[in-house]
């Protein structure tokens, strides 16, 4: 038993306990690690009460990050993204991505974030390749969004798709309505009929897409 007194209640003598925690990365990688924590028998406070595990946890996240980046870069080939082209576009020194891919170099948190974004939205490379020109970026973005929207409706029983903005004096809500049948239609009807008095110019910015 430790001689430390519980900082939460000031009464119990803290007990050191071994516990396991599961850490997860947005890529789906999970790791369970064992850490030592404190438990107060008097007030039942439990945890890493003095921040002693911070370093261990950070190190584990670092390893997971390296694994996640390597795994994402592995998939770049199937997405027809050339590493050298991506390095050029992102102004990274050549071979940087290869080094991250074979884990000979650990990417920083911000570098990992960049790869996550590019993995999720590969069209960001086109934005960068257009020197972040706002107009081009917008076109690339909207084109990619429309392509994704079309993909989303394929293979589902969506019969028609519409998007628009409903607004009142203070707020606006952008909506996408995927019509599957009576249920979906009735939801939209409810929203629009309940709010007719609040809507202004709703017709002016509606878009339709027939599948």
């Amino acid at each position: 038993m430790s001689k430390r007194i519980c900082p939460v209640c000031g009464i119990g003598a803290l007990e050191k306990i071994l516990t396991s925690i599961t850490l997860s990365d947005p890529s789906g990688i999970e790791k369970t690690i064992e850490i030592s924590e404190y438990k107060c028998p008097a007030c039942e406070a439990e945890g890493d009460l003095f921040g002693e595990n911070d370093r261990v946890i950070q190190d584990e996240y670092k390893k997971m990050r390296a694994e996640a980046v390597a795994s994402m870069l592995e998939k770049f080939h199937s997405k027809k993204i050339s590493l050298s082209a991506a390095e050029r576009v992102l102004e990274l020194p050549q071979r940087t991505l290869s080094k991250w891919k074979n884990k000979s170099m650990v990417p920083s948190a911000s570098a990992a974030l960049l790869i996550r974004y590019v993995n999720l939205f590969p069209w960001l490379l086109d934005v960068a390749d257009n020197k972040f020109n706002p107009k081009n970026a917008q076109q690339i973005h909207v084109t990619a969004a429309m392509r994704d929207l079309c993909e989303m409706t394929k293979g589902s029983d969506v019969t028609s798709l519409s998007a628009g903005i409903v607004e009142n004096l203070n707020n606006a809500v952008f909506y996408v309505n995927m019509e599957k049948g009576i249920t979906q239609r009735s939801i939209m009807d409810t929203v629009t009929s309940a709010s007719t008095g609040l809507m202004v110019h709703s017709g002016a910015c509606e878009y339709s897409y027939e599948t």
Partner: protein, 134 residues
């Protein structure tokens, strides 16, 4: 239940800013929730987030007695706040023990009330009414 926070929040912020020999304790549940809900991986990250003004649009919710207090003759009060961070609405509960001089972060999670920009937008627009937290 108090209508004003019992503790001085600025004093709590000051305590979060002190990096060495911190006088702020984060309980296990709060730590786990902060990690899962807000991506704050360690207690150090939680404290730095708070110290750097991460708890935006802070709103006092209520004060309650700490239920697990082993010495009821010395009541300890827990203050609960809601805050906003980007699209998330969170809830943080903290208390200060005058005996130990330590602050404790008891809860740090997505607010039960939370959500979502769409719900908020619909509420503001008067399309739906709604269900605030207790």
């Amino acid at each position: 239940m108090l209508k004003q926070p019992y503790h001085d929040f600025d004093a709590f912020l000051k305590a979060c800013k002190v990096r060495a020999r911190s006088r702020v304790v984060v309980l296990r549940k709060a730590q786990d929730d902060a990690r899962n809900d807000f991506g704050l991986k360690t207690s150090g990250e939680i404290l730095r987030f708070i110290a750097n003004g991460g708890l935006e649009q802070l709103e006092f919710i209520n004060s309650k007695l700490w239920e697990n207090n082993p010495d009821p003759s010395r009541p300890v009060i827990v203050d609960g706040y809601e805050f906003v961070s980007r699209m998330k609405r969170g809830y943080v509960a903290l208390m200060f023990n005058k005996v130990t001089g330590y602050w404790t972060i008891k809860s740090f999670h997505i607010s039960d009330n939370a959500n979502l920009p769409f719900v908020d937008a619909f509420k503001k627009a008067g399309f739906i009414s709604g269900g605030d937290n207790e």
